[in-house]
Symmetry: C2
Subunit: 331 residues, 2 copies
């Protein structure tokens, strides 16, 4: 792959990764790839890494790990209103890597990349000297100047979110505390749904055109709704969010009914990979309709307010809550 191709690294590349290479990657037989945006477009660049034991469980299926490594980056691109074009991969392997693991990883990566129309352009494979680490740099494109920024929300805008919130956090909780009463009380199919949301991000690529058309600001929810919303608004703007308007899956609704404290995990747990954005009130209906036409639900959950302070959540019991350091931190 790019750069320091090594004798045995070359074998790995030819066997596992060359079949995934897209145009411009030159079959991964060069030190660099080419990528040129469509005329009238900007490239949008992002990078995110996942580490075994920190961002995923080392024993997760390797195809799922690959899908997550790609998905967390695709999610960033979608939230910026961009269309993916390709990616670079840094794969740092632990000393006990196996061919079976790499087979599964490459298969999962190829499938996820093909679904997203986002081919592999190059990469580097190294020994990690510790746990596995997968870093993806992903490139998308938007019409020139059309990238949707994170910190450009306007007071009075409605706060919208795609899909459902909290499922992945509950899926993680379920894996960490499988004997918890709320887990035992949950239908196995719903348990599986939550576990799947943690394991497999569902980057909302289909929402990108509508986000580009209607959102005044956008980001993906990776570190918890409460903290990410605070980051999106920054200083000088606040938010009022109605808990009753939060889009919860049937599984999340039942889990919270069984154990009301789980709403904190829903709001702060992270790994949602939904798109959080702000939309002028008069555009919300059109935004929802365009997203629906692309197969995605969009919920309006609150309003951007003036003033400082973290977003205020009006809970179902009438209490108001804030999550001061709401964002989940791996670091």
């Amino acid at each position: 792959m790019a750069g320091s191709a090594r004798a045995s690294e070359e074998g790995l590349i030819a066997r596992y990764f060359a079949p995934l290479a897209g145009p411009g990657a030159h079959g991964l037989r060069d030190d660099a790839a080419t990528l040129t945006p469509t005329p009238g477009h900007d490239l949008v660049l992002t990078t995110d890494a996942v580490v075994a034991g920190i961002h995923y469980f080392a024993e997760d299926p390797p195809a799922s790990i690959a899908r997550k490594a790609l998905g967390v980056n695709l999610s960033d691109i979608a939230a910026k209103g961009a269309v993916p074009r390709g990616f670079l991969l840094t794969l740092a392997l632990p000393d006990d890597w196996t061919e079976a693991w790499l087979d599964g990883f490459a298969a999962g990566l190829g499938a996820a990349a093909a679904e997203a129309g986002c081919p592999l352009l190059g990469g580097d494979t190294v020994r990690s000297g510790g746990p596995a680490l997968i870093s993806v740099s992903l490139f998308g494109e938007v019409p020139t100047g059309a990238i949707v920024r994170r910190t450009t929300a306007r007071v009075g805008d409605r706060i919208c979110v795609t899909g459902t919130i909290g499922d992945a956090a509950l899926g993680l909780r379920l894996r960490l505390e499988p004997a918890a009463p709320w887990v035992a009380g949950l239908d196995p199919a719903l348990q599986a749904e939550l576990a799947d949301r943690y394991l497999h991000p569902r980057p909302r690529l289909a929402a990108a055109p509508a986000v580009r058309r209607y959102a005044s600001a956008a980001m993906d929810v990776s570190d918890g709704l409460a903290g990410d919303l605070a980051k999106m608004l920054g200083a000088g703007r606040g938010a009022r969010v109605a808990a009753a308007a939060l889009p919860l899956s049937d599984a999340a609704r039942r889990a919270c009914a069984a154990e009301p404290a789980l709403i904190d995990a829903v709001l702060t747990g992270g790994d949602d990979y939904e798109i959080l954005c702000t939309v002028a009130p008069e555009n919300v209906a059109a935004f929802q309709a365009e997203a629906a036409a692309a197969g995605l639900t969009v919920s309006a959950i609150g309003t951007v307010t003036s003033g400082d302070g973290p977003p205020r959540f009006e809970m179902r019991d009438g209490a108001e809550r804030v999550f001061a350091a709401g964002s989940f931190s791996h670091f």
Copy 2:
């Protein structure tokens, strides 16, 4: 940085990395950056990672580590005839990272990026769970279609290389075997020169325009001249290289005089980060002149031949040698 900004990660970014951000990076306060090639140009993408204890010594100065992480990628871009435009950084920190280390790392990264005209566009900071790992994805640009490929050498072309070969490999050897007789016999200033070549790649960015104009194929020498030359030629072409024509520094010449077996380290050791390329015989003088005008020496060391088999090195004693698996492998 891009993607999963975390509470305490945000503090690191604001303190250490936001000062390094270039145009399109939006002060590292978004999940993605924008980059658009100059009209009439292609973007050239590469990625390479370095790992503590594998690609560098964990105790190396953090500014040097940063310079190496960027330099190995700049070297790839230069060898493709491209001009750097910016980079993304994945910084995976061990659990015992310190502010002093990060201070030095950011300072070295900023200095190296400024020298190369290649600003930081975004990144991700994570815990590694093991040794430090630094992955850089670097973007350059070339006039449309002008990228210089690795595998396009023609039989009869002259094989050229910038600068000097083997210094970094000897610098590494010197650190691993400080008590070796050849080290003791070497002037301390020359020892320091070799050590510096290992520690600090000198990406040959100044050679890029001449490479673009004259080279039929090019790559950077990162894994040893013998193995990298074999990779560049691929199947169906060979090479005849005159050891007497190899550009050796004064330090390398003295080291090899003291211990003749060191010529193997010179030819296979790696970390040179010189540009290896092929040039039609009638263009060699012009190529050398243009490189010289940019402050770089270029040596013609051999010729591309027809036929299979690894490059043949005609040694000073008249013997012919090949290095079958000559490329150094970290993997």
